[in-house]
């Protein structure tokens, strides 16, 4: 949107610099503070978690152990080890499975809502998707625990139902509505004259979607997928409750795992402020912050690409 500019005050205002003029400048300064607050907070988050985690990074931290050792034993009395490889594997396996479920289904749903559904059906589906996106993550965790857990045990005859499969499905169902709405926005952003032109040439609805709409919306759809990945990756309560919370590099979907986010949530309450364990948890926080920052940055660049084109 091109910014409107009011006529310069000097042209119109005969007795300039009166009370209204100063009030105007004051408000401008105040809302500017509001405007930069988001930047201040992002920097603040990074500064404060780095400040708390720094002691670990310059002290016990060893790059090799931190990222390549699967042994997360921060409370060991003989030798504490801080390896997050198994936690990374836990997060990756759960997020991966969730995206395997969520990406095709939410793109399919977005296409159905934006291109096939009409009138009341469309309104109904849009509202439903919006409401599903609002379900709090702790409720999803409870669903994993109380409903999915016995279901998985019964269907697959496995001893434990809190595992990669459970958390993956829960996380997939959680991320799907968000991805669906963003993807639908991306499809809606394709101008109608593209569709009309294709239909005038005799294309069927599917041909229009496949040959015209999808290529035109592909950056927006990619952005939707990335934001969904970021959301799944950073999810805490649901994966804390549904993964089984066992440190483990999974070999099948029925293995229990533990996620990076869940580790912080479960252990931070029991650590002493300033202890190496406490600092190590903040260091995981720094890693999480940086990774989601990069994902969001890429998503933003990808989506902006489509707006310029």
């Amino acid at each position: 949107m091109k910014k409107p500019t009011p006529p310069s005050a000097t042209l119109l205002d005969f007795n300039k610099r009166n009370r209204d003029w100063y009030l105007d400048k004051l408000v401008q300064a105040l809302v500017f503070i509001g405007g930069i607050s988001a930047i201040v907070f992002i920097i603040g988050i990074f500064v404060f978690i780095t400040k708390e985690g720094m002691g670990f990074l310059v002290g016990d931290f060893s790059f090799k152990e931190f990222f390549l050792s699967p042994n997360w034993r921060p409370t060991s009395e003989t030798k504490a080890t801080y390896g997050i490889l198994a936690l990374i594997a836990g997060t990756a396996s759960v997020t991966g499975l969730a995206m395997l479920v969520a990406i095709p289904f939410s793109l399919g749903t977005a296409i159905f809502i934006a291109e096939f559904a009409t009138g009341k059906t469309r309104e109904f589906l849009k509202v439903t998707v919006e409401l599903l996106a609002a379900i709090p993550s702790v409720v999803w965790g409870f669903i994993g625990l109380a409903i999915m857990n016995p279901l998985i045990i019964e269907i697959f005859h496995v001893p434990v139902g809190l595992n990669v499969l459970n958390a993956g499905i829960i996380l997939g169902l959680m991320a799907a509505p968000i991805m669906t709405s963003i993807a639908e926005d991306a499809l809606k952003a394709v101008p109608d004259r593209y569709r009309e032109a294709a239909e005038a040439l005799g294309a069927t609805r599917w041909q229009v979607i496949y040959k015209v709409v999808l290529p035109a919306a592909k950056n927006g759809l990619l952005g939707a997928v990335l934001l969904g990945v970021g959301r799944g990756f950073g999810e805490t309560m649901a994966v804390l409750m549904a993964t089984g919370h066992a440190i483990n590099i999974p070999t099948s979907v029925f293995d229990s795992v533990r996620a990076l986010t869940a580790t912080i949530a479960a252990e931070l309450g029991e650590t002493a402020v300033g202890s190496p364990h406490y600092k190590a948890l903040f260091t995981i926080g720094i890693a999480l912050f940086l990774i989601t920052f990069i994902i969001n940055l890429i998503a933003d660049l990808v989506v902006r690409g489509v707006r310029k084109g």
Binding site: D24, V31, G35, G44, I113, I135, T236, I264
Partner: protein, 289 residues
């Protein structure tokens, strides 16, 4: 002359096939969740009563009600709103009415997207490091609410900016031509026309704030408190954390209790969101321009 050729027929049947596939995908995304919600209602509804909502938990939380948690959530949400709505609306006014289209504004937008995308547990770490320890608020309602406020700030900013931008430019131009300053225009023309839209965003924020768990775990919410909070520097119980506690931390919990808590929480959130959606639809129907 216009009879369908074999190719037309093939294309049309393919269209039908894909319509069916995408429709089935939509159904299989929505139906399981509807079934799950049905189960929640079926198992949770019998527990919910006046006593459940308005009495204290007893017998190590296995009996009694959820009143302190319910009250705590309401307190957390209110304090968070006091902090985030003025700031969020100011940010939205700046972005919609003042900000030039340059790299700095793009940086602000990127920061907003990131603020919304940072994992909730990282917000919790920030709240602990900044509010609890650095500003010495201790684990308190104030620290937890400020953490929630920063986390949900993007919700207010984005929805307010949208409703400000939906006020036509011509309204502003007419006002400027009368010699009004920018602020007079915003206060007399833009804000009155956008206020209901802003309200839908605020309701959405209430719903988001009420459901969050991770950010309040280490900043102000606790598993159990024998008394109600007396001020913003007290700790509190909260509904979302209470659900986590009763479903994972308490042995011998009767099965129905966590279902009841989950139902109250989800009922609150979905009610808020439905109100916001209804308000938005009403607005769209009323709009004259």
């Amino acid at each position: 002359m216009f009879e369908a050729s074999p190719i037309n027929r093939k294309n049309l049947s393919r269209q039908k096939l894909f319509r069916f596939i995408f429709g089935a995908m939509t159904a299989s995304l929505i139906l399981p969740v509807v079934l799950i919600l049905g189960t929640l209602i079926f198992k949770g509804a019998p527990v919910i009563s006046f006593d459940f909502l308005f009495t204290n938990p007893t017998k190590g939380m296995t009996a009694g009600g959820i009143f302190p948690a319910l009250l705590g959530t309401i307190l957390l949400v209110m304090v968070a709103l006091v902090a985030s709505v003025p700031l969020g609306v100011a940010a939205a006014i700046y972005l919609s009415e003042y900000a030039p289209d340059n790299w700095f504004t793009r940086t602000i937008n990127l920061a907003i997207i990131n603020l919304a995308g940072v994992p909730s547990i990282v917000h919790a770490l920030f709240g602990l490091g900044a509010f609890v320890l650095f500003f010495r608020f201790g684990t308190s309602i104030l620290a937890a609410s400020l953490t929630l406020a920063i986390m949900t700030l993007p919700v207010v900013i984005v929805s307010t900016r949208e409703s400000l931008q939906s006020v036509p430019l011509a309204f502003r131009e007419a006002c400027w031509n009368m010699g009004a300053t920018r602020w007079q225009t915003i206060r007399r023309i833009v804000l009155p026309n956008a206020v209901t839209g802003i309200l839908t965003g605020v309701i959405l924020e209430v719903s988001r704030t009420a459901g969050e768990t991770a950010p309040i775990m280490f900043t102000g919410a606790v598993f159990f408190l024998p008394f109600l909070p007396q001020g913003v520097f007290d700790q509190t119980m909260a509904l979302s954390l209470h659900l986590f506690v009763v479903s994972t931390q308490v042995p011998d919990m009767p099965e129905a209790v966590p279902y009841g808590v989950a139902l109250v929480l989800i009922g609150m959130v979905l009610l808020m969101n439905s109100a916001s959606i209804a308000l938005r639809m009403y607005l769209r129907g009323k709009k004259k321009w």
